[in-house]
């Protein structure tokens, strides 16, 4: 049982986590907008770039799961600069100041979206293609949102190396509830089911590690992201596969 601060708790990843892990941890939920409906734990309304409010929210917290940010792949630079880059630095800095042990950072497939070049697609989205990314490759964002997520990973690396935080960056794929995207090969390749998402975040909260970049997808036949590192270091054991829904 950990005390976990979830930033951006009202978003889709928050839904997936809280739906499955309601009683698994002591939750503290932060969002820019008031949360409506049933939520476990204390809720806090604050903007992620408000360092004092973020620091207050971390009092007594063991682990921060940092989801807050502009989630739009097409988000303009000024928004991702502020909400995703500056906001993420604010969270890491506050985590150090508050004595938090660990930050789990919601990165994105968009940090490496430009590996999906015209020459590789759509073949790379198919089971028989053996192209793989494993998290050791340099970022290649296909949009400025992806640039901001890659920057967040580097911010995390700095706070791990220089301030001893344990940090896990999860490049989240295509998270959908119920079933994978229909007629969308890319979405099926990087599908992440709600239950696999919650399980992966739970492992990232509990496992032992220093700094990690892992891919957050289900065990899809079509995958071009390796989940070997998530299995080995975090003990991730996904139950879903988009191929089961074809």
């Amino acid at each position: 049982m950990h005390t976990v601060l979830l930033t951006g708790a009202g978003g889709r990843v928050g839904d997936a986590i809280l739906g499955e892990l309601t009683d698994a941890h002591e939750w503290r939920l932060l969002d820019r907008e008031p949360l409506t409906g049933e939520y476990p734990g204390e809720t806090i309304v604050a903007d992620i770039t408000d360092g004092a409010a973020v620091l207050d929210a971390m009092d007594g917290v063991d682990v921060v799961v940092h989801l807050a940010g502009d989630p739009r792949p097409e988000a303009p630079w000024n928004s991702v600069l502020r909400n995703n880059i500056d906001g993420t630095q604010t969270v890491f800095e506050a985590a150090v100041d508050a004595g938090v042990d660990r930050v789990v950072f919601a990165s994105s497939n968009h940090a490496v979206g430009a590996y999906e070049s015209d020459a590789r697609t759509p073949e790379m989205y198919r089971s028989e293609d053996d192209f793989r990314l494993d998290g050791t490759e340099l970022p290649r964002p296909g949009n400025l949102y992806g640039v901001s997520k890659a920057a967040g990973e580097t911010i995390g690396r700095y706070y791990h190396d220089e301030h001893d935080l344990s940090v896990c960056c999860i490049r989240i794929g295509n998270l959908t509830e119920g079933h994978p995207p229909i007629d969308y090969e890319r979405g099926q390749a990087m599908w992440l089911s709600y239950r696999d998402c919650a399980h992966l975040i739970d492992r990232a909260i509990r496992a032992e590690y220093g700094y990690e970049i892992v891919y957050g997808i289900s065990d899809n036949d079509r995958k071009y992201y390796s989940i070997d590192r998530a299995r080995a270091v975090l003990g991730y054991d996904p139950q879903d596969n988009s191929a089961a829904h074809e």
Copy 2:
């Protein structure tokens, strides 16, 4: 002969470049502060985050050599966020809008400073140690300045992949005029002489490539940055070696 816009022209790297390459290119020199003294070409006073001024400065330019930014390793987050991260995105965006072919970006050894761990130093600064970084490794900044330079490299990757700019990121070592740092092993390992600096920038202006990350150091016996990629792709042929001054 290219028309080259040098941002941050009044800094130390600008000095090294302009001292050696006065007549090699048609220079346009941009700096936040008025440039005093003898400079070749047109000078423009503008802040790098002023997109309209930066775009104006790029009219008719073939290559941008982007040096502007807060150069202090200990610079606070708010300064590197604005001057180095936001400023670099402004430059790349303007380069696309202005139809510039290429941006040469002054990155820094600080983007990978945390590879210099307690376990590796000072041995890694010595000739007999064979630890090498070659530019394919993930960034590991030792300070927020280094975070900002790593972010600039990723911004460049995006503008190369999505907007067809040719981009070279040069992780500049320890640039000093005349001779390498005395009694400072790290500085000797990553020394970059003024003439090697100017030659490297000249090669980055002239050679053929898509996206590159290279190390900018002289051919020091003590080096732990590989210069193989700079030799192979850019035709870099350094003349100096800090060992010659010991």
